[in-house]
């Protein structure tokens, strides 16, 4: 896998995490003061960037090498949610996230 492809993967995963955090912020804001459409629009734009980058990477890299990387996205989302939204998990939650990531990698690698 070339350096460019790795960079695209990293940026696309960042876009995925950012997009989902914007979605969550939009839905929280909806309950607070109803000004959520802007955040939702940023979320949709960010997810579009993720989708296009991911398609671009798929174009360059064999799918079998790429798909296991998709397995780390639940972990990245949980870390992003912990840092930017202050979400917390108990040990069962962390174990569940770990197993889910491992399972997604297995399914994707096969």
């Amino acid at each position: 896998m070339s350096l460019t492809a790795w960079a695209l993967v990293v940026v696309s995963q960042f876009a995925l995490v950012a997009g989902q955090i914007y979605f969550k912020r939009a839905m929280t804001r909806r309950e607070q003061d109803g000004k959520w459409i802007g955040l939702l629009a940023i979320g949709i734009a960010t997810m579009t960037v993720w989708f296009l980058l991911w398609l671009g990477v798929m174009h360059q890299v064999e799918l079998s090498k790429l798909m296991p990387l998709e397995g780390i996205s639940p972990l990245l989302i949980v870390l992003g949610a912990a840092i930017f939204l202050g979400e917390r998990l108990n040990w069962r939650g962390w174990a569940g996230i770990g197993l889910t990531c491992a399972g997604v990698m297995l399914v994707s690698a096969s």
């Binding site: 309950e31 939702l40 639940p74 996230i97 770990g98 399972g103």
Partner: protein, 144 residues
């Protein structure tokens, strides 16, 4: 920026099973899996088509399957946003990985694709992970 806003009080979902956020995540997962399979069916339809449209990827739009797939994707996005009103993002996203269970199962059932041993064990590991996550939710809600 957040300090100036009223504190985020977790909202209560509307009564009724359909408005349960966990059921909405499940429906989102089912709709996303259905969308993948419908889009694949639409792509297979256009693969038999030799027109100019098929070269630029627009022939898929001539298939009802593709349009059903797009509608399923839009509906699943609605369910996802609804669920995010009530659930933490990390938990909701992890549960949404159930799609990796239903896509292979649906491809096996509807498209007659094989499920390898590795893929089958991956599906079991995801189910175990989702069960643990579900248990963690029960523990958290007991405390509240």
């Amino acid at each position: 920026m957040h300090d100036q806003l009223p504190a985020a009080i977790p909202p209560k979902p509307a009564p009724g099973l359909f408005w349960n956020p966990y059921l909405q995540i499940f429906l989102t997962v089912l709709l996303t899996a259905a969308a993948q399979i419908l889009l694949k069916a639409g792509a297979d339809f256009s693969a038999r088509n030799d027109s100019v449209w098929s070269w630029i990827g627009l022939a898929e739009l001539g298939s009802v399957w593709t349009w059903l797939g797009i509608m399923a994707l839009v509906a699943s996005f609605g369910g996802w946003l609804y669920a995010l009103r009530f659930l933490p993002l990390g938990l909701a996203f992890a549960l949404s990985n159930g799609v990796h269970i239903f896509v292979p199962l649906g491809s096996w059932f509807f498209l007659h694709e094989q499920i390898s041993f590795l893929r089958g064990s991956g599906i079991l590991v995801i189910i175990a992970g989702i069960l643990l996550l579900a248990q963690s939710v029960v523990k958290v809600e007991e405390k509240i």
